[in-house]
Structure formats: C-alpha cells, structure tokens
C-alpha cells in the first residue's frame, strides 16, 4: 500500500478499522509499563516525589506542540496539495491537541505550586502555551462555525499556519527570555541532562502518549469521514424531496 492509496477515504477507513485494535493494545501496554516505571522511579534530590508529575506533564507538553505541527502539515496538504484527507486529519486533531495542551497547563500548575510556590506565572513559556491552548479553541470554534467543510478547511488551514509561528516561540522561550520555567533537559544539544532513572520512564510515557494520540487521531478521522458521508446523504435526501411533485 502506498501513500497515494490512503487518499481514498474508503481505503483509509478500511486500514484504520484494521489498525485501531492493535494501536489501542500497544497504547495500553506502553501506558501500563510507563505507569509502573513512573511509580517505581526514585525521588529527585530537589523535587522529591513531585518529579512523578513530570512523567505526565512533559509528554502532554510535547504532544501539544507536535499535534499543532501535524495540523500544520495537514494545512499544507489542504492548501497546496488538496489532499482529500488533509482537512479531515486537521479537524480530527484539534480537540485532541487541545486536550493535551490543557493537561500540560494544569499538570504544570500542579507541579509549580509546591516547587515554585505558585500555580501560575505570566512568563514566556507558560503564556505562549496558554496562547497555544486558546488557538486550539479558536480553531475548534472555526470548524463548528462554518457549515461547508471545504470552506472551513481553507480558513482553518490559514489560521493553523499562522499559529505555527507560536511553536518555535514556545520551544525557545526558555532560551530567549528570562523565565521561571527550566530550560530543555531532554531535547538539547549535548544530549539529555536527566539521569536514566528519570529519562527511561519519561521516554516510555512519551511513547505511550504518542501511541494514544495516533490511536485517537485515526478513530477521530474515521468519525469525520462518516460525518461527511452523513452530510452527503442528507443533501441527496433534500435534493430528492425537493424534486418530488407537489
């Protein structure tokens, strides 16, 4: 099967339906291993047991940006290549990305209160992630406001690409400005600064959440294709009933 085959929604539905049980099982296994390793990880010498919050906060923070990146590629697919599944992928990803961003913000706040002494600080990293969350909500609202999916797709694609400017701002905010948030400790020049006792549970949890995203994304795309079929059939129904003689 080639990539071009996936441009056919029926073929995509068939593939997604076959892949979903395997992806769900892989997610469950990775989550179980990750949660066990997180529970067994030693306490940090500074953070104590609150380091365990990092095992869920960091994967959600990474995915909050990754999902917007996926939507940006899909936006190019809509505007440049007019791929039939590009806007389906973008629309399906937005609520999932919003959920990951919400979790990154709230788990960050719950870590910040005992470690920084505050739930929230208007610093560059926290504020730029809050803006990302608001952009997700704006995008979801846009999809719901415009009834015609192809018109909504073009507007959403432009908004997504404009919003992608925020991704490097989030990533480098800790380097460009003096923030309360600590600098990158995993994805950085010179390799991760974390001890293996923390790095391994973190990477397993990140893999589990990535697999969760893939599973939810395929399922949500399948729903969106079915929703469009419902819309098409409803339009056929309206056309048929309007042609009937009075």
């Amino acid at each position: 099967m080639t990539l071009i085959d996936l441009a056919n929604p029926t073929r995509f539905l068939s593939l997604a339906t076959r892949a979903l049980p395997w992806l769900a099982a892989a997610t469950a296994v990775l989550l179980a291993i990750g949660l066990y390793q997180s529970a067994m990880a030693p306490n940090d010498y500074q953070q104590g047991a609150t380091v365990k919050i990092m095992f869920i906060h960091v994967p959600n923070a990474w995915l909050s940006m990754f999902v917007w990146g996926v939507m940006s590629v899909a936006a190019l697919g809509t505007l440049v290549w007019r791929h039939p599944l590009a806007d389906v992928a973008a629309k399906a990803a937005a609520p999932i990305g919003a959920a990951f961003t919400f979790l990154a913000l709230v788990t960050g706040a719950l870590w910040g209160r005992p470690m920084w002494g505050t739930y929230w600080e208007w610093d560059a990293r926290l504020t730029s992630v809050l803006i990302l969350f608001l952009m997700y909500l704006g995008l979801i609202a846009l999809w719901r406001a415009v009834e015609d999916p192809s018109r909504a797709a073009r507007a959403a694609a432009i908004l997504t690409l404009v919003g992608a400017i925020n991704l490097p701002i989030i990533k480098f905010s800790v380097d460009w400005w003096n923030t309360l948030h600590q600098p990158a400790s995993v994805m950085r020049m010179g390799g991760p600064a974390l001890d293996h006792a923390f790095l391994i549970p973190l990477l397993v949890m990140a893999s589990a959440f990535s697999m969760l995203f893939l599973t939810l994304q395929l399922a949500a795309m399948r729903n969106e294709i079915l929703r469009r079929r419902v819309r098409t059939l409803q339009m056929i129904q309206v056309t048929k009933s309007s042609r009937r003689p009075a």
């Binding site: 306490n43 365990k52 870590w111």
Partner: protein, 62 residues
C-alpha cells in the same frame, strides 16, 4: 526511601494523575460515542432509501 511514598505533596501528584486519567477517558468516550452516532445516522438514512451514488453502503468500512 520507598519510591511509592509520595511525601508531603502527594495530593498534587495524585490530582495530576487522576486529572490526566479523567481527560483521557473522556476523550476516548467522546470519540467512541461519536462513532456510534455517525453509524446510526448513516443506517437511518440508508433505511429511509437514501443511498450513495456508488450504491455501496456508507457504513461498510471493512
């Protein structure tokens, strides 16, 4: 020290994990309910005599 001991900030740690669990379960539930809803609407439309131009069932995704 027992790694399972969560120390003085246990409530923050437990709340974080519970919140993530609740949001993930809600997300899974919402997607599962939406799937059933779309399938039901397609079946209702097809039962009412509205079919795709290809003639294939819209719910046939095997």
């Amino acid at each position: 020290m027992n790694p399972m001991s969560l120390g003085p900030y246990a409530s923050f740690i437990v709340t974080s994990y519970l919140l993530v669990a609740v949001v993930v379960v809600l997300l899974i539930g919402w997607i599962a309910v939406d799937y059933r809803r779309q399938q039901r609407r397609l079946r209702e439309l097809e039962a009412g005599g509205t079919i795709r131009r290809s003639g294939r069932s819209a719910t046939d995704i095997k």
